[in-house]
């Protein structure tokens, strides 16, 4: 009496073969371009998201490279202030809005359904729509740069500099609309990730058995949900000031420049945690897998994540210590800024203990984790320093802060790269090269310190941020040159990674379902996973879904395979609740995204973009919601229980 198969690579019985074949037909996409444009498969969209985000990462890095080239020597004539301002604005905007957040949500979109044992995300069409909107936003920003309309007021776009008087033309509007696009995409991702986690978990996966990465994505999604509307609305105010002459930020008419800073940083600080909480989640998985034991202190880590989520909303004023906000308020924000360090500290301690107790395998993902702790500690400690109001008045807006924030954000990048090596087999069915990987982690580690450690000193020595050049007499030249050399090392490490990925894509050693003997459900199915994820969804028996899984583990049966039927479970303890009809592929989300694009891009030039775009949106979204004949038949058959 054999177990029913979970993975299509382990089909045992005739039923299994039949089921797998029919699922392939039901959940597969149409071939060719139309299938590519209309897919709602969370894995195809997730990969798409990741590739796009990575391309933007390369572009953002290119901007940074040019900046380092310009700053490598004093009074360098390579770039003028106009171009340089556009470059550093593009760099920040790209890395924050087009790389970091989309990359994290992309991993969530790809892995949350797999880790919770679901067929797809909760709202697949919305998912596709989100990606297309994000893509349009990114294209808009770079179309801006290449038409000399690249934003040039910083990724923070402070008013009044970004206002209509001091930034004439459309540069700041391009920024504002890019932000709008990416916020829409992130918010959509947050809704569907939350719904997927709450309602699509495999039977038995009660909340206290959820993988830590899923917890991290849950916290992240809630943070996105409550922080991004702030910047979306703020950028709406900015666009209105610039296009229709409102006065939100005009002091002469009762507006206030600081209002922008409050709105922006109320989003801007959670943003940082939105970027690295998922990374911390990845660390937990890598540590568990490569020490061959569950992470120590599951509950502590989860609670720390949740606490981080809440605390991160109480820090925003520490970006404004140099403004005229009252001192007494500031000391409260110092306290919260310092205390949030504890939440990260606890997680680091738990990982160290896990490593201590385990028997580590020093594979590339694990090396990235070790490097991460070292880099991230530096960023965290300098973070506590800048939480001090008096000290911050010295280093705020200097290269010290540039060093700090890059140690934190690149700190978050180490686990991300580690996760690529860890999950690459799941994406492609092949492993990334191990030796090249070691070069990658080594060069990246060295590059980060060469580039950013000297900046701590430069900041204290008086070098402000966002300067396109500096006088020779300042004596900042040598360390800037060193930093620029470090940037070359960083670039080379990324080149190694790219080469490694491209080669492994073709010639990497085949991985099989579970190359690392890991414990979460994404490893229970084939690599790469089929469109339907699992032949039979597994029933979860413990916190370590696979390690606790009994021989011939139990599975979900009775889901129809001839229509897109998915299981919905209860929120707390994931008891099977009802069967849900998942929507089929369609190009409607793409059309709706294009309508959205037309609306917001037209709004850069004329208020009439709104009514016109709204009509387009109405049409496309009606197309989207209106069921096709086949769908309708499938629904009826699902409800009558009889095949159509």
């Amino acid at each position: 009496m054999t177990a029913r198969a979970v993975s299509p690579s382990r089909l045992a019985t005739a039923d299994d073969h039949a089921a797998a074949a029919e699922l392939e037909r039901t959940w597969g996409d149409r071939p060719g371009l139309i299938g590519w444009l209309s897919t709602v498969d969370h894995k195809r969209i997730g990969i798409r998201y990741m590739v796009t985000a990575f391309v933007f990462f390369l572009l953002g890095g290119l901007n940074a490279g040019l900046m380092r080239l310009q700053l490598s020597q004093p009074e360098n004539g390579l770039l003028g202030p106009d171009r340089y301002s556009q470059l550093f604005t593009m760099h920040g905007t790209t890395m924050m809005f087009l790389f970091a957040v989309p990359m994290m949500t992309a991993l969530g979109i790809y892995f949350v359904p797999l880790m919770v044992g679901a067929r797809d995300v909760a709202f697949p069409r919305l998912n596709a729509f989100g990606y297309w909107v994000y893509l349009i936003g990114g294209l808009l920003l770079y179309a801006g740069l290449f038409t000399n309309t690249g934003p040039d007021t910083g990724w923070f776009s402070y008013v009044p500099l970004a206002g209509p008087e001091y930034t004439p033309g459309k540069r700041a509007d391009v920024w504002a609309q890019t932000v709008t696009f990416t916020e829409i995409a992130a918010l959509i991702a947050s809704v569907e990730i939350i719904a997927t986690i709450f309602k699509h978990r495999a039977p038995g996966m009660s909340l206290n058995r959820m993988p830590i990465f899923v917890w991290a994505m849950l916290v992240t999604s809630f943070m996105i949900m409550f922080s991004m509307p702030w910047v979306a609305t703020a950028s709406l105010f900015l666009a209105a000031d610039r296009l229709i002459g409102t006065h939100f930020f005009n002091p002469a008419e009762g507006g206030d420049a600081l209002l922008w800073q409050h709105l922006f940083w109320f989003f801007g600080h959670p943003e940082v945690y939105i970027i690295f909480i998922p990374s911390l989640g990845m660390v937990s998985h890598i540590v568990a897998t490569f020490t061959r034991r569950p992470v120590f202190g599951y509950t502590a880590i989860v609670l720390a994540n949740v606490a981080q989520g809440f605390l991160s909303f109480g820090l925003w004023v520490h970006h404004m210590f140099a403004t005229t906000v009252p001192q007494i308020g500031s000391s409260f924000f110092s306290a919260t800024s310092a205390m949030i360090a504890i939440t990260t500290g606890i997680q680091i301690f738990c990982w160290i203990v896990t490593i201590w107790q385990g028997r580590p395998r020093f594979r590339v993902p694990f090396l990235f984790v070790i490097a991460f702790v070292v880099v991230f500690m530096i960023g965290g400690l300098s973070g506590v320093m800048v939480a001090s109001v008096p000290f911050d008045t010295q280093v705020h807006d200097t290269y010290f802060v540039v060093a700090h924030l890059h140690y934190v954000l690149l700190g978050a990048l180490f686990p991300l790269f580690g996760a690529f090596y860890y999950w690459f087999p799941k994406f492609t069915g092949r492993r990334l090269g191990e030796r090249a990987g070691r070069w990658h982690v080594g060069l990246f580690f060295v590059g980060v310190h060469l580039t950013f450690f000297p900046m701590h000193y430069l900041g204290l020595a008086g070098m402000p941020r966002r300067v396109y050049t500096y006088l020779a007499d300042t004596g900042w030249g040598p360390l800037n040159l060193l930093a620029s050399i470090g940037a070359v090392v960083l670039v080379s490490s990324v080149v190694v990674f790219l080469a490694n990925a491209l080669v492994s894509l073709r010639r990497g050693t085949a991985a099989g379902d579970d190359p690392w003997e890991a414990d979460s459900l994404e490893w229970a199915t084939a690599s790469p996973s089929p469109p339907y994820n699992f032949v039979h969804q597994p029933v979860v028996e413990g916190r370590s879904a696979l390690w606790d899984r009994s021989e011939a583990g139990p599975v979900v049966t009775g889901l129809r395979t001839d229509v897109r039927e998915a299981l919905v479970t209860t929120v707390m303890d994931a008891r099977p609740d009802h069967r849900h009809f998942a929507p089929s592929p369609t190009v409607a989300p793409l059309l709706a995204a294009l309508a959205t694009g037309v609306t917001f891009i037209a709004l850069i030039f004329t208020p009439w973009g709104l009514p016109v775009g709204s009509v387009l949106l109405l049409v496309t979204i009606t197309m989207w919601a209106w069921p096709s004949r086949e769908e309708h038949a499938d629904q009826r058959s699902q409800e009558t229980g009889a095949p159509a």
Partner: protein, 315 residues
């Protein structure tokens, strides 16, 4: 070569910067210790020789103890940090008595400096240089004419933003005579990078003398070259933006040049104040500070030399 005074938070020259510098010493030492401890623990955990492990329950107990201890430890460190931080903050915000009052107004991309006086005629206006008496506190009132700037002489005090529609104040004190450089620290547009200023701390007597001299108008040009230079100044666009008392040139668009020759730098600390640089700045300002609002002034060489000579007489 611009003679640069102290321009570093690591070389404090006044009580404010000194206080912050002391705090920084504490910060980085503690940070270094914490960092070393954690990384050491990590590396040992990763690379220790694996012997026979404790039995699971015992191992678990010791692990819980370790994490708890580490957490409590970091809480204590952070608490101490907050206490010292609060004390430092208190000390810095104490309003000083008997201070000199100066008004600084930020422009894209230069600093207008005004020494208010009871009688308007005694008010002194200069640019990009604060003269202050050494050993005496100075209270600076900060406003902005356009966008947000940030006033930051690192050797003397931390920065404070100049926000349109808002008045900020900051105080500092230079303990010893000397020249201290400062720079705008909030991105304010194309020439944010070249928006520097100097704080010149002098013995109180010298400072009073300087202030008195600043109140006078400039002398009428003595020699013919300077006289020609004045004509050029008044006949070209210079006079449309700059003030030179007592000439008819009285526009406040650009810096007041009445005592230009007394200043150490021009173009907001981007060039030394010597004839060659002056000539270069007048003939090709966009080459020095692209995007600055000073337009180029095409002049015959003779006129240019005369103009520079005249400006050189404005002690």
């Amino acid at each position: 070569m611009i003679q640069l005074g102290g321009h570093s938070a690591l070389h404090p020259a006044g009580p404010q910067a000194a206080r912050i510098h002391d705090f920084w010493q504490f910060l980085w030492i503690v940070a270094a210790v914490v960092f070393a401890a954690v990384v050491a623990a990590l590396l040992y955990a990763a690379f220790r020789r694996r012997g026979t492990d404790l039995d699971p329950p015992a191992a678990h107990r010791s692990a819980v103890r370790a994490v708890a201890a580490a957490t409590v430890g970091s809480l204590v460190v952070l608490f101490v940090f907050l206490l010292l931080n609060f004390r430092a903050g208190q000390a810095l915000t104490m309003p000083p008595d008997g201070a000199v009052h100066v008004k600084v107004r930020g422009h894209q991309w230069w600093w207008e400096v005004v020494y208010p006086a009871a009688t308007p005629s005694d008010q002194v206006t200069t640019a990009n240089e604060l003269h202050v008496p050494a050993g005496r506190p100075v209270v600076v009132e900060l406003t902005s004419a356009d966008v947000i700037h940030s006033f930051w002489p690192p050797s003397l005090v931390g920065k404070r933003d100049l926000i349109p529609g808002d008045v900020a104040t900051i105080w500092f004190q230079a303990d010893t005579p000397g020249v201290y450089r400062g720079q705008c620290a909030e991105f304010c547009g194309h020439q944010h990078a070249k928006m520097g200023f100097l704080v010149i701390a002098e013995p109180p007597a010298d400072f009073e003398g300087w202030l008195r001299r600043q109140r006078n108008s400039s002398a009428t040009p003595a020699d013919s070259v300077a006289a020609r230079g004045q004509e050029v100044f008044l006949a070209t666009q210079c006079a449309l933006c700059h003030t030179i008392r007592p000439t008819p040139a009285g526009s406040r668009v650009g810096p007041d040049l009445t005592h230009l020759a007394g200043r150490r730098t021009i173009a907001a600390g981007s060039l030394p104040n010597d004839p060659a640089s002056l000539a270069r700045w007048i003939a090709d300002p966009q080459g020095v500070k692209p995007g600055a609002f000073m337009p180029a002034t095409p002049l015959e060489q003779a006129d240019l030399d005369a103009l520079v000579a005249y400006l050189g007489t404005l002690e």
